[in-house]
């Protein structure tokens, strides 16, 4: 009988990832202590303060990690993914009725002194089910049936979480689009999402006219790229865009005709011509380009509607502050302003452990949870930020690389889910503290204070490590 060459325990676990995890958790713990010591003045292990409590969370997380890595059979996760997903969905709905309200959203269960947020667990459940569904034999993302299944798996919890007013957690689900991209979704979807965000921001900050010009440029670029005639793009469209950019000035010289109306007239004529051309040549790409342009125009025109009527008040204000449309350093802008002051004052090497003044006086709200990165920035400076961000990038890329090395689709897809989720949290959380992203209250994985979040990310990560270990044991 032939025994497969089994790798030892030491060899089969990706220890680099584990070390990376431990470093991040440790950094979190130190900074939680720094963020709260001035107010509470206790030792790091005093269980009545946050650093002490976090220590408990860390120990329990390590216990969980060990269980997942060495005790549970990794196959278990695939087996229980459907019931887990359904159970979490029930929890998500139940929390709306039974949960306690924290800062305007009903997303927490309170079990005595312990509070727990089902949205954190739902990320794991969704990832597990997504991997299960997508790794089934015969599953094809390009077919409508597959796309629908995937949309349902991702969309259901996302919608319920939106109903809980936990917009931040819901936004994280957008990260799954990277998983889908890896599994065959057209890259144009990513481009379209990016373009939509760009148009939205441009319309708000500059003008609908500028936004429309950019749309024309982008659609043209798409068309020429697809048709393989990229070198013509600057000549034809570039010239047109330069002309159009000066159109408002020209119009203002002679008439009081609104530039946007002129642009609409020109585009209307052009569109009819292009449509006729597309019909004659049976040019599918041109049709798509025309459709994309029309969708873009619709988006530009509905921007102010979305902004003023669909978004909630606080969301709109946060976006206004981010885009610099409104200065509000005392109100909505307070958090961001104070957090940027804290981080910005850190300089290259920071003020040193426990020496952060901004952190200590409590200028920054949510200092040990959502804004923990401020403490890193202030006390450890750019060097500290660089280290933390590099650790995250290492972790995410390491997960992706490990995932790609796996033989089983299930592990790979799940790995991408984990990487995407950590990535989204990283981008939104750090982006928010330095004024790149509107204020969206989600934790920084492994660093932020809180048991729910730490447990959830630990489980998320170590399930992947366990799956990976199982593969590495034999191959």
């Amino acid at each position: 009988m032939y025994d497969a060459p089994q790798r030892t325990l030491k060899q089969s676990v990706d220890w680099k990832l584990v070390v990376c995890y431990l470093l991040l958790v440790l950094i979190g713990w130190i900074n939680i202590y720094a963020a709260s010591h001035a107010a509470e003045g206790a030792s790091m292990l005093d269980f009545s303060v946050r650093s002490g409590k976090q220590f408990v969370w860390i120990l329990t997380s390590l216990g969980l990690a060990a269980l997942i890595l060495f005790v549970f059979n990794p196959r278990l996760w695939e087996v229980i993914s459907v019931p887990t997903y359904l159970f979490v969905l029930v929890l998500l709905v139940a929390v709306i009725v039974l949960g306690v309200e924290v800062k305007g959203s009903r997303s927490w269960f309170a079990l005595g002194p312990v509070r727990f947020q089902p949205a954190e667990v739902s990320k794991i459940a969704t990832s597990l089910l997504l991997a299960t569904v997508m790794s089934r034999p015969g599953f094809k993302l390009t077919q409508p049936r597959g796309l629908l299944q995937v949309a349902a798996v991702i969309g259901l919890p996302m919608l319920v979480i939106l109903a809980e007013s936990e917009t931040g957690s819901a936004l994280v689900y957008l990260g799954f689009v990277f998983v889908l991209y890896r599994e065959g979704l057209s890259g144009w979807v990513l481009v379209a999402i990016g373009a939509a965000v760009l148009l939205f921001v441009l319309t708000l900050t500059a003008s609908p006219y500028a936004s429309a010009l950019v749309l024309i440029g982008m659609v043209g670029l798409f068309y020429y790229a697809h048709a393989g005639r990229l070198k013509y793009w600057p000549w034809i469209e570039g010239a047109a865009l330069v002309f159009l950019a000066f159109l408002p000035k020209l119009l203002a010289l002679f008439t009081d005709f609104a530039p946007l109306t002129a642009l609409a007239a020109i585009s209307g004529v052009m569109l009819l011509y292009l449509a006729w051309k597309a019909m004659r040549r049976r040019d599918r790409v041109l049709w798509v380009a025309i459709a994309a342009f029309l969708v873009g125009v619709a988006l530009i025109y509905s921007t102010s509607f979305i902004f003023n009527s669909v978004l909630q008040d606080h969301q709109r204000k946060r976006i206004e502050v981010l885009l610099g449309l409104k200065e509000d350093p005392a109100g909505v802008g307070y958090n961001v302003n104070q957090s940027m002051i804290a981080i910005g004052s850190g300089g290259l090497f920071g003020k040193g452990f426990l020496q952060g003044t901004q952190t200590a006086y409590g200028f920054v709200p949510e200092q040990s949870t959502d804004f923990i990165f401020c403490t890193v920035g202030e006390e450890w400076g750019f060097a500290g930020c660089l280290a933390v961000i590099l650790l995250y990038i290492f972790m995410i890329s390491r997960i992706i690389i490990d995932a790609e090395r796996c033989r089983e689709n299930y592990t790979r897809i799940y790995g991408y889910c984990v990487a995407s989720l950590i990535f989204m949290h990283l981008l939104i959380n750090i982006g928010m503290t330095i004024g790149l992203v509107p204020v969206i209250g989600i934790p920084l994985p492994f660093l932020s204070y809180g048991g729910s979040s730490l447990w959830a990310f630990t489980i998320l990560l170590f399930i992947f490590l366990a799956l990976y270990r199982q593969e590495r044991k034999y191959f």
Binding site: I341, I343, S345, G347, A360, G362, I389, Y392, I400
Partner: protein, 614 residues
């Protein structure tokens, strides 16, 4: 497809990481705006309170100075368990007070944070020393030195006014000038000259470390700003005279105002009962006591009480008659215990010989005579109607500074009231009133009200033979300029040549000698040539008010005084001695032996029981 997509995602990851790091690099290393803001966040501004300007009297005597007191500050975060009883005895307060306070701080600890709050205000240095010796036992408690008002001379709380912490309303009314914790003058001279007295606040800047401990002076104090002390004020008040006036007015309700006619400077201004200077420094402690006093000591009667002037107003009517040409000094009118203004209605008068000429009528204060005078003014053929004549009469009256605010620099001055013809038109209908309707105005009764300051100013006007300077309490000095309006002679509409005709009567009223019928012979002081006019004004609330105005000497007068004593009866009984004693004191520096009994009587007189307080 596989590795290419993986690589694209990895590149995307790298790009996002680079964007985050780029922004971090920018705000942490390139842009130093945030470092500046952070040090703003961690800078502590400690206010340096300026010392308030000193208030001097006209002779260079300090009437309001400053002294040191201590506030006890508590930083609740730093307080450790302590012996409440020991602290209470060190501070001289009830232990319950401290317990209450500590509970209060505990309740609002999140609002207080690391800040210090004032627990106890204005401890005397002696008391503070006791606490300072034991301070090491009470971490978190500290003393802060503070300059408070000191009154070396009892010059009257209503005149000086008090200084107290500004409230929210005050801060709002003086946009941008005050902050909570500042003090401001609220009444009297303190309020009138708040701008000069307050000075400018300064500050020390300190840096906090990450445990909120004050570490060092920011830039070694280079950015600190020193406090600018307030300007000193020289007042026109004669502190000794003011104090003497207060003594004379003790246990009486009313006012005494003395003016230097040649300048309009107010020499003394007594409102009785007033606020004791002992209470001024810490008005907050005594506020309820003062506010609930039935005699209303906060009410400054000298500028805010509107009284009928009574017989002293006969001077004005006489002067108007002379100016209008309807009265000659030799004109005599009969008086048989009064004036019949209809067949069966009489405005009564006291018993005196009859007929009298102008001089004698003033000397004996004949009511009947001045009814004839006002009638001849109002029924002058020159004017088409009584109303027209009346309006002319009113013009004369207001030219004496009556009927409207004088425009003094003393705050909260009121204007009194002189009715207009329209007022009577409204009541009686147009042409529905004649002289008999308003006969009371002949003798300063009826629908008119004047403040004691206005009466004193009237006296000064007569003393000046026809003009006055707006009465004021602040002297011009290098740092504190006074308005030009105080340097401008205000003439009445009566020629200056007419005045001696009534002054002769005023002279006789005082110096006519016993048995002459002069109403104020008790005010006579040999050699001082006091000229005076008594008044007895009806008071609907009890006994008549006693009024007296006088100036001295007759030629080149140095002082004009008005005394207005509520419910004190005849002018001659109380107002006359008080005013004359004041004049004597001012001009001679003391009271003659033969007038000591007058002084004794006034000082011992207690008229409080006559005053209705409900």
């Amino acid at each position: 497809m596989d590795t290419s997509r993986r690589n694209k995602l990895l590149i995307g990851l790298g790009v996002v990481g680079a964007i985050l790091l780029g922004k971090l690099f920018y705000i942490q290393i390139i842009d130093d705006r945030y470092k500046r803001d952070a040090s703003n966040n961690s800078m502590v501004y400690e206010t340096i309170y300026p010392t308030r300007g000193i208030i001097y009297d006209r002779n260079g005597r300090i009437i309001v100075g400053n002294k040191v007191a201590y506030d006890i500050l508590v930083t609740p975060r730093e307080v450790r368990p302590f012996d409440t009883l020991a602290l209470a005895s060190a501070l001289g307060v009830d232990p319950l007070f401290i317990r209450e306070k500590m509970k209060e701080y505990e309740r609002s600890r999140s609002r207080i944070g690391y800040q210090s709050v004032v627990m106890l205000k204005q401890l005397s240095p002696e008391r503070y020393m006791k606490f300072a010796e034991l301070k090491y036992l009470f971490p978190g408690f500290d003393g802060q030195v503070r300059s408070i008002r000191d009154y070396p001379f009892n010059a009257g709380g209503n005149l000086l006014g008090y200084v107290s912490e500004v409230d929210a309303d005050y801060i709002k009314r003086h946009e941008g000038e005050y902050r909570p914790g500042d003090y401001a003058g609220k009444t009297g001279i303190e309020a009138a000259r708040e701008q000069d007295l307050r000075g400018e606040k300064g500050y020390h800047i300190y840096l906090r470390d990450s445990r909120n401990r004050i570490q060092t002076a920011y830039m070694d104090g280079a950015m600190d700003k020193d406090a600018v002390p307030g300007n000193d004020i020289v007042t026109t008040i004669d502190a000794a005279l003011q104090q003497y006036g207060q003594e004379l007015m003790r246990n009486k309700v009313g006012s005494v105002v003395a003016i230097e006619p040649a300048t309009g400077e107010i020499l003394a201004m007594v409102s009785s009962p007033g606020i004791d200077v002992e209470m001024l420094a810490d008005i907050g402690q005594h506020y309820n006591e003062i506010a609930s006093d039935p005699y209303k000591p906060m009410f400054n009667r000298t500028v805010q009480a509107s009284y009928p002037p009574g017989s002293v107003f006969k001077l004005v009517n006489g002067l108007i008659g002379l100016q209008e040409g309807v009265l000659q000094p030799e004109t005599t009118y009969p008086c048989y215990n009064g004036y019949y203004y209809s067949s069966n209605r009489k405005l009564g008068c006291h018993t005196h010989r009859s007929p009298l000429n102008l001089k004698e009528a003033i000397m004996m204060s004949c009511n009947g005579y001045f009814c004839y005078v006002l009638r001849s003014v109002l029924e002058n053929r020159k004017y088409k109607s009584t109303a027209e004549a009346f309006d002319r009469w009113r013009e004369y009256v207001t030219s004496f500074g009556l009927g409207d605010k004088l425009g003094s620099d003393f705050p909260s001055e009121l204007g009194g009231n002189v009715p207009t013809s329209k007022y009577y038109d409204r009541i009686y209908g147009k042409n529905g009133w004649r002289f008999p309707t308003i006969v009371s105005l002949s003798i300063g009764q009826g629908e008119m009200g004047v403040t004691p300051l206005q009466i004193a100013n009237l006296c000064a006007t007569v003393a000046n033979r026809g003009y006055y300077y707006i009465p004021h309490i602040v002297k011009d000095s290098e740092n504190v300029r006074i308005d030009d309006r105080f340097r401008e002679k205000k003439y009445t509409l009566v020629d200056t040549t007419e005045f001696y005709k009534v002054i002769d009567g005023m002279y006789l009223a005082v110096n006519g000698g016993a048995g002459s019928g002069g109403t104020a012979v008790s005010a006579a002081v040999p050699g001082l040539d006091i000229c005076g006019k008594t008044g007895t004004a009806q008071n609907p609330r009890g006994a008549d008010n006693s009024v007296f105005i006088c100036f001295a000497p007759k030629d080149n007068p140095k002082i004009a005084v008005a005394a207005y004593i509520e419910n004190a009866g005849f002018g001659a009984t109380w107002a006359c001695p008080i005013a004359s004693l004041l004049v004597e004191k001012y001009l001679t520096g003391g009271i003659r032996e033969e007038r000591k009994y007058v002084e004794q009587r006034v000082l011992e007189g207690d008229l409080m029981s006559r005053v209705k307080t409900d």
